[in-house]
């Protein structure tokens, strides 16, 4: 007899993520795609892909919850929305049941969420309107440097003498990068400087007070940022198994809770 599954859809500004879990909160299937311009279409494709991976059909979906910027655009699938802050907190407190500071670096925004040992949020901060310190900042810089974004991590690791960027404005940072290129600075040193800048912007939002958990696409694809964050904060940084899926998994956990608790 088919078992019910619970689905979380995280419609981010950059990527759409879907997670399928069972009643024991085990991740059965997942998918990540570019959100593009048709959130519903992308969500449908991700949903089908993750259900296939889980080996179940739509009929087995007991409940679904959406989150992320496009959360209301896929309400036809779910009928219920939660904020990404709530979903990240839900997932991270499950994997790390202790007092933690969650740092999420997403495509469009950053979040710093403080949780107590019971998983309750005591505070959260989102970056202000500017894109500094977000995935969008790195995407913009990869274009300026003409480097594929997936190669940035390996380049940063080659750095011998990091270039520090002073500005927190993306446009000014781009000018600074060009200036450093003119002065003959090496690309790996500039890329490491960009990573440093991303972490610095996040740490300016809020001081971590507990053990740190990092999530989001930027850390999923650039593990070197995690190592740099450990060095900069002097604290160990923990990652869930799928950092980019944390929001979607949290949404799936909400779906399970709603079904269980009514």
């Amino acid at each position: 007899m088919p078992k019910p599954v619970f689905v979380g859809l995280d419609i981010g500004s950059s990527r759409t993520k879907v997670a399928v879990v069972d009643a024991a909160k085990r991740l059965l299937g997942h998918a990540v795609r570019k959100s593009g311009t048709d959130f519903s279409l992308t969500a449908e494709a991700c949903l089908d892909e993750s259900l296939r991976m889980a080996g179940v059909g739509r009929g087995e979906i007991a409940h679904a919850v959406s989150t992320g910027y496009g959360r209301t655009n896929v309400a036809f699938v779910t009928g219920e929305c939660k904020t990404e802050i709530g979903c990240l907190a839900k997932a991270c407190s499950h994997y790390f049941p202790e007092a933690i500071t969650v740092i999420d670096i997403g495509g469009q925004d950053n979040k710093v969420i403080k949780l107590d040992e019971g998983g309750r949020r005591s505070s959260f901060k989102m970056n202000r309107k500017c894109a500094a310190g977000t995935g969008a900042f790195l995407e913009e810089m990869s274009l300026r440097l003409d480097i594929p974004i997936e190669e940035m991590d390996a380049l940063a690791r080659q750095s011998r003498e990091m270039v520090k960027l002073g500005s927190y404005c993306t446009v000014f940072s781009a000018t600074e990068v060009l200036e450093n290129i003119r002065h003959g600075k090496k690309v790996p040193d500039i890329v490491k400087g960009l990573f440093y800048s991303v972490i610095k912007r996040v740490l300016e939002m809020e001081s971590p007070t507990e053990r740190i958990v990092m999530t989001g696409g930027v850390v999923a694809h650039n593990p070197y940022i995690v190592r740099m964050a450990e060095e900069m904060t002097g604290r160990p940084v923990m990652l869930p198994e799928y950092p980019q899926l944390a929001g979607a998994i949290g949404a799936a956990f909400y779906a399970l809770e709603v079904k269980t608790n009514g």
Binding site: S40, Y69, T72, N73, A75, F76, G79, K82, T83, E84, I85, G86, D109, R120, R121, S122, S123, F124, K125, M126, R128, K129
Partner: protein, 415 residues
Amino acid sequence: MAEEKKIVRKKIQAADRMNKIMADYFYELNDAAVTGKRKVAWCTSVGPAELLRAMGFVVHFPENHSAMLGATRMSTDLIPTANAIGYSPDICSYLTADIGAYIKGITPLAKAYPGIQSVPKPDVLVYNTNQCRDVQDWLAWYSKELGVPSIGVTSPKNINEVTDAHIDDVARQIEALVPTLEEISGSKLDMDRLRETVSLSRECTELWKQVLETAKAAPAPLTFFDGTIHMGPAVVLRGTREAIDYYKLLLSELTQRIRDGVGAVDGETVRIYWEGMPVWGRLRQHSELFANLKATVLASTYCSSWIFPAFDGRDPIRSMAKAYLELFIVRSDRYKEKYIGEMLEKFRIDGIIYHDAKTCPYNSNSRYGLPQRVEAETGVPSLVISGDLNDLRCVSDEQTKTNVEAFIEQITEGE
């Protein structure tokens, strides 16, 4: 995409009466300016309006006009005009919207009140820098443009306790305005009339306080968003009988709501305090955002800033000075923290939202660690949202929505 069911706050019936007295006020101003029958003074919002009214001036408030530009969402298109003549997008967007509107010959009054073509031309401009320095710069531009004098009070700032020395200083400055105002108005200051005007302002302010304090009830019968509209008479008609009569009517309706157990928002579960300026161009959206989360924004520093317990007709000038100095915006952070703490307790608040208005540092109390200190002292969680009072280029609706939804989630899930 699913249709989101929109819950709206309940309409206040007295609003029709308010609209009538506000219309009368604007037509009276227009008539004075067009016919020249009475002198027109422009006055900053907590400037010496009582003195001006007692001396026979009809009084226009540029901040009120600019709030109208914001609420009608005209301001964002007008601000760049002022930017282009050297008034930075980083300074007060009341100032830049209003000057931009003047340069372009636009006013929301023309649309709202048929027959009015423009803001009333002033005979004198009067400021009090208790709000900020920008109000003085604002009137200085009009002074040069229109060739009318700009006079006023330069207020002490960052005051912890208001002392006699502070009051002496401001009272002397108010007295020093009198000869110029007498010359422009063509008549001597009648102290009896000033006493009466100050007494009327006191009565208005007492009633306005009672109106706002009806929100102590649960469910609250009015919201911050109602308050920003219904404070109109307290801002532009204080010192008049019309404002007093209006607030008696409004108070009676809200008291009835309390008796009937009727809240401004159905199913109120979370009670929020708003610190800072409203986002004028987003009043309706913000009202709906909170109402849909069953949260009532029911008290604020902003609406409470038009409560002046110091007004005393027996000692009009010194009591005006004291009232203008006791204003929240004039005070030290130590005073502000105590004040906010008391408000959170009085209104049984679950969470406080600070609006960090890009162009209004004086009304943005989230920049020097105050939210963290208040939260540590009271245990009431806080959220800072970025935005602006009038410049919608500084507003991110999606960020505001996510922040507010997550904050209400945090409060409800933590219960």
